[in-house]
């Protein structure tokens, strides 16, 4: 039950629905008698939450340290003694927040250290830029310095620039070398080449007492590029952590029954085929498993898209994602967690991913067009100066300045800065991109296919129609004790209240108990002793009165109709594709204003429909959350999944949106389209810049001052243009 004090004490954020507190024992790490656990906490948003959660967990016996990171939602708890790890998750869940153990060894650490390396490289390059500028800038404006002083200051620049370049340039060199080995070029090849050649030619000039040295240009170039890299890395990690937080709240552990009958909590990833598992009521199945014993109802909404739960029978194979509703089940795992999919969906997923990897990004296309042209221009310049009778060193010097001045600062920043700004804008609205090129693919779509259950609808039934008030109040006393979606709908409609006594759950039939001193039943028509009226219904019967029916409907999200209309205005066609019965799909389509729909679609036929659409020249955006959508999500041109989607679907999609609002779908497309526009502008600008800069360098006018000014100006223009994405007005006024 959720009490008034649950959740954020400011009252600004809703409490997380208190549910099943996972047993985190399998994730506890131990060293020198101190046990530690990492927990993902959902719903903490302010200092009050922080104090409440940390205070409650610290008060548990033996807890030495409890620290919640509000930025990532990760909590670190350390304790000594025999405290049951489950007490910790229970404590947090009772306060009205979501809690789930997470794997301390997850690759988040890897992403964080990558970000940190880029950050240090950026700071080193920045400080080196300041220091080099201090000694080189005076030379630009004082033509009367003696050659000795000039050379001294060049050596001072070299002293700073060479180690700084060697350190800060590593991220670029490390990516350029493997590319060259494979005989390919990427953006890092011309960057590395320009930086190394700039240092080399400057050293040569300094040693010979020459006038121009490009030490300042090389460190500044690295500094600008590393700013872009850093924002990119930071955003990637934040999006990854946020998506991970959503993932951690799905089940990640299971209860295994050992050979001696003792139950132990294990990680889902440690479950082997053949293991006997106990699935408690309310728990979500983490692996594909066969039912061995027990009788219960299972909610297959995530797996098939069907709203109504069905009775589980011995020998039935349940897929990962099924939720056990009424009574504990013993099951035998048939596949490890990583392969818990039907083989067919797995194959389709793979095919879809292969298709996506062949997508060519705008930036790659630009790099492929740009790199040879610049290198040819530099080569021609070298030959031209030689032909005109310049000495070899002068021809080489001018050819290298062509490479330096055309160095792809603007081109290299053009796409990443836009991606960073767009991803930041989406992040503010609770949408997390899986990759940078996802934006380009989303921007190109012209047809949107929605899944019904859980995506277009709430995914949980709501009470509809008319019924006597007192029957609802009494039925709710039974309903509060059950996890069946229909019972939960009744409990929700009735609000908080008492629970009946001597409650017994009869899987597949209903619940019975004593209400107001009389025997009462809530369940199927046959169980309640009535004649069914068809549709989704539940009957309430109490001794001495005629049974009362309740009707349910998987209600459409309130913003569905508006979102569909908005997508239409954006020039997109909309289609509904569901695994549910045609009667329900037709009703939902009509209510949402969608005229094109298909019902009773299997996972394979969903993927087929997408291929069909693609063949007819449409670029399809698939929006879905269930296991049955995974193959379609992977195969679509672009795909979105809500945060509550099953693991496979979330991983197969390009962008995950949290929050439960469908409005995000239109918003993501809007931002993606604007981002594509900004990207095109940036590349157009970079091309114009090069058209101007190359002739200047070719005729030998590019002094270090011109190079520094041109580089910083072009980078600033590209970055500012990208930042327009963070202040642009969105149609629905979203932040």
């Amino acid at each position: 039950m959720i009490d008034a004090a649950a959740g954020c004490p400011s009252g600004l954020a809703p409490a997380s629905p208190t549910g099943f507190a996972q047993d985190p024992t399998a994730f506890v790490t131990e060293s020198r008698g101190r046990r530690a656990l990492e927990i993902m906490v959902r719903g903490a948003s302010c200092g009050g939450c922080l104090a409440k959660i940390e205070g409650a967990v610290s008060a548990l016996p033996g807890v030495g340290a409890a620290r919640l990171n509000l930025s990532t939602g990760r909590m670190h708890v350390e304790w000594t003694g025999g405290l049951q790890p489950r007490r910790i998750t229970e404590t947090i869940t009772k306060l009205g927040y979501g809690a789930a153990a997470c794997d301390a060894t997850q690759p988040d650490g890897e992403k964080a250290s990558a970000e940190r390396r880029v950050l240090v490289a950026m700071v080193v390059a920045g400080l080196a830029t300041i220091a080099v500028m201090m000694v080189s800038e005076p030379l630009w404006f004082s033509p009367d310095v003696t050659p000795e002083t000039r050379t001294l200051m060049h050596w001072a620049s070299a002293l700073i620039a060479i180690p700084a370049t060697a350190f800060s340039g590593l991220p670029f060199f490390q990516s350029a070398i493997p590319a060259l080995r494979r005989g390919r070029v990427n953006m890092d090849v011309p960057i590395s080449l320009a930086v190394i050649l700039a240092i080399a030619i400057s050293l040569y000039e300094t040693a010979n007492g020459g006038e121009h040295a490009y030490f300042d240009a090389s460190v500044m170039l690295l500094f600008f590029l590393l700013i872009g890299r850093f924002f990119d890395a930071r955003l990637r990690r934040r999006a990854y952590a946020a998506a991970n937080a959503l993932a951690a709240l799905q089940t990640a552990s299971a209860t295994r029954i050992g050979p001696l009958g003792a139950a132990e909590a294990v990680r889902a990833s440690d479950v082997r085929p053949g293991d006997l598992l106990l699935i408690a009521a309310g728990e979500r199945l983490a692996v594909d498993a066969e039912v061995m014993s027990g009788a219960s109802d299972v909610d297959l909404r995530m797996v098939t898209g069907e709203v109504e739960p069905s009775a589980a029978y011995v020998g039935q194979v349940l897929h990962a994602g099924a939720v056990n509703l009424s009574a504990p089940l013993r099951v035998r795992a048939v596949a490890p967690a990583s392969q818990s999919l039907t083989a067919e969906i797995g194959r389709l997923l793979e095919a879809g991913e292969q298709k996506k990897s062949s997508f060519r990004r705008i930036a790659d296309r630009a790099a492929e067009a740009y790199v040879p042209q610049v290198h040819i221009a530099a080569g021609l310049t070298f030959v031209m100066w030689l032909v005109l009778g310049a000495p070899l060193s002068k021809a080489a010097f001018i050819a290298i300045t062509v490479l330096i001045i055309t160095c792809p600062c603007a081109i290299a920043l053009a796409a990443p800065m836009v991606q960073v700004a767009a991803a930041g804008r989406l992040f503010r609205n609770g949408a997390y991109l899986s990759s940078g090129d996802a934006l380009e693919r989303i921007a190109a779509v012209d047809h949107v296919v929605f899944d019904k259950t859980g995506t277009l609808t709430l995914g949980e039934p709501r009470l509809i129609g008319s019924f006597p008030e007192d029957a609802l109040a009494r039925a709710a006393m039974l309903a509060r004790a059950s996890r069946h979606p229909f019972s939960r709908a009744i409990a929700q409609a009735a609000g908080a209240g008492p629970v009946a006594s001597s409650i017994v759950e009869h899987p597949g039939e209903g619940v019975s108990g004593v209400v107001d001193g009389r025997q009462a039943k809530l369940g199927s028509a046959a169980y309640a002793g009535a004649v069914g009226q068809g549709g989704s219904e539940l009957w309430f019967a109490i001794a001495g009165e005629t049974p009362v029916p309740f009707h349910f409907e998987d209600a459409l999200r309130s913003e569905a109709k508006e979102t569909v209309a908005r997508l239409r205005r954006m020039g997109l066609s909309v289609e509904l594709l569901s695994g549910d019965s045609s009667e329900r799909v037709a009703a939902a389509a009509a209510a949402a204003g969608i005229d094109q729909w298909r019902a009773a679609a299997t996972p394979v036929s969903k993927a087929q429909r997408l291929t069909e659409l693609e063949k007819s020249g449409r670029k399809v955006l698939m929006v879905g959350d269930g296991l049955n959508d995974a193959a379609a999500l992977a195969g679509a041109h672009a795909s979105l999944a809500p945060g509550g989607a099953v693991d496979v679907s979330r991983l197969a999609s390009d962008c995950v949106y949290s929050g439960d609002s469908l409005k995000s779908v239109a918003l993501i497309i809007e931002v993606a389209r604007a981002a594509r526009q900004r990207m095109r502008e940036n590349f157009a600008f970079a091309a114009i810049y090069n058209l101007v800069a190359v002739p200047v360098a070719v005729v030998g006018w590019a002094t270090p001052m011109v190079a520094a000014a041109a580089m910083s100006l072009s980078s600033a223009i590209v970055t500012l243009n990208a930042l327009r994405l963070s202040i642009m007005k969105l149609e629905d006024g979203a932040p």
């Binding site: 104090a51 400080l127 220091a131 002083t149």
Partner: protein, 49 residues
């Protein structure tokens, strides 16, 4: 121009000190939880040990 001989090492030293200070603050975890640090300052109980 002899002043350069003092100024340049001094400039390098200052830049080095700034870099050292930055790396120390990074290692000390000052950038790990910006939202939490902003919120913690509002809690007036004693720090949780």
């Amino acid at each position: 121009m002899n002043v350069l001989l003092y100024m340049m090492p001094a400039a390098l030293l200052l830049a080095g000190a700034a870099l050292a200070a930055f790396i120390w603050s990074l290692r000390a975890g000052q950038y790990d939880d910006p939202a939490g640090s902003a919120a913690r300052i509002l809690n007036d109980q004693d720090p949780i040990p």
